[in-house]
Symmetry: C2
Amino acid sequence: MQKNFTDRLCSAQKKIGSLVCVGLDPDLSKIPHCHMKKFHSTHEAVIAFNQSIIRATAPFACAFKLNVAFYENLGEYGFSVLQATLNAIPHDKIQIIDAKRGDIGNTASQYASSIFELLNADGCTVAPYMGSDAVKPFLAYSGRIAFVLIRTSNPSGDQLQSLMVDQQPLYQHVARLAYSWGEQSPGSVGFVVGATNPEELKILRNKYPTVPFLIPGIGVQGGYLDVVAKVSTPEGPVLVNNSRGILYASSEQDFETMSAQAAKELRDLLNNAIKHHAH
Amino acid sequence: MQKNFTDRLCSAQKKIGSLVCVGLDPDLSKIPHCHMKKFHSTHEAVIAFNQSIIRATAPFACAFKLNVAFYENLGEYGFSVLQATLNAIPHDKIQIIDAKRGDIGNTASQYASSIFELLNADGCTVAPYMGSDAVKPFLAYSGRIAFVLIRTSNPSGDQLQSLMVDQQPLYQHVARLAYSWGEQSPGSVGFVVGATNPEELKILRNKYPTVPFLIPGIGVQGGYLDVVAKVSTPEGPVLVNNSRGILYASSEQDFETMSAQAAKELRDLLNNAIKHHAH
């Protein structure tokens, strides 16, 4: 039987000493022009760009996250670029498909099968608005994880997530629900929690000490390294994602070196914050 | 400038005298075996199946809705099957991409561009949990529509959507928010509202008399034809979707005839309910 996701995440993190997840979101308007012009076709250029970034950042990252929007926009080549990118990721890294899926039973099963069978990813992101019907099909895959959107870091995240239900913001009810959906297959539910509100991160970690957190919003979107360090525990691992800050660290020839440096910098900042917190 | 979505929907409905939207969700385990075995490859078989269903049901349907989960699961051929299916839909029909997208600004723009530029669809479905950031990029396309999930017909839809916020269920707050997001580009926001709760449908129609409703849950999922008839008004059109009930009306050689009959039956039931309501 496949190992629990949390165990695999922890060993990937330990091996490399890093919580960093690199977001592979190939935006054609941002990939360095000097790279693009070396290729005859867009899809070959994107695959080669992703391969370069993976090679350069792998020493500093325990995981890679692919946002499917950027692949779908490549049209008929989208799927093969997605697959080629996953194939380029070393086997000891965690692979997350960021698709924020949310549809009912029958359709959710199709999505889960695409992500966990066809693409063989380790984890994915899912949206909670349709309730457990939309999430449970993802929890049937042993050793995998579905990160449920709980509290997102975007400016309008508040509009729904902070509505008060029984004197508690909605996102806390969603956390409670999502946690309960995973109770029959322990370790199968994670939370997506933005790093923009440190209090909220702490509340969620206190209530759910063993749930893995996927934390976007570090870097370009701002965030709070020291709070992330506080909520990262041996039982409750966190995965800290940065996409643009690492991927587009430079628009020149030196992009690989600069991406590696950006990933290393984030790894070191997080590790220092954790060390500081331990003292 | 392109005509408003509502005007185009109304003329598609008037032309054919039907509110029926046929859901093209090709499930490999349900497509008649006698059809599949005529083809060498799965993707050719699926394209041909969709073409047959479109040909058979077009006289009774004003719109077609493609749920992308079923296409993604076809892997590298998914996009071309999706595109070939859209190409087979007559130009005077409405084309909806059911993807329930929900991601933030940058990524939402990629999704919107895939759906409205690359695939050139008329409408799509979007999820509200991340707030306006996730929806607004879709509203920038003139003449198109984003149907926001408001009240879904699946059993666990209640878990979030019925939580009480200020003495009103969450879905009503979401409706209010979604409506407000569309105010700057009138006609750009529609609601997805299941037909399983007639009271809720009536409440939403009374509050939002001009918002187009996309109503799934008629047929296989049960539902209330007469209430749908009541909320279908000249200013506030409704689009009534059925997928499995029409698509898999027969698993034998006669599947085209049976699909056509199922679409015709739903059209007639709806039209009779509307006539009955008018008297």
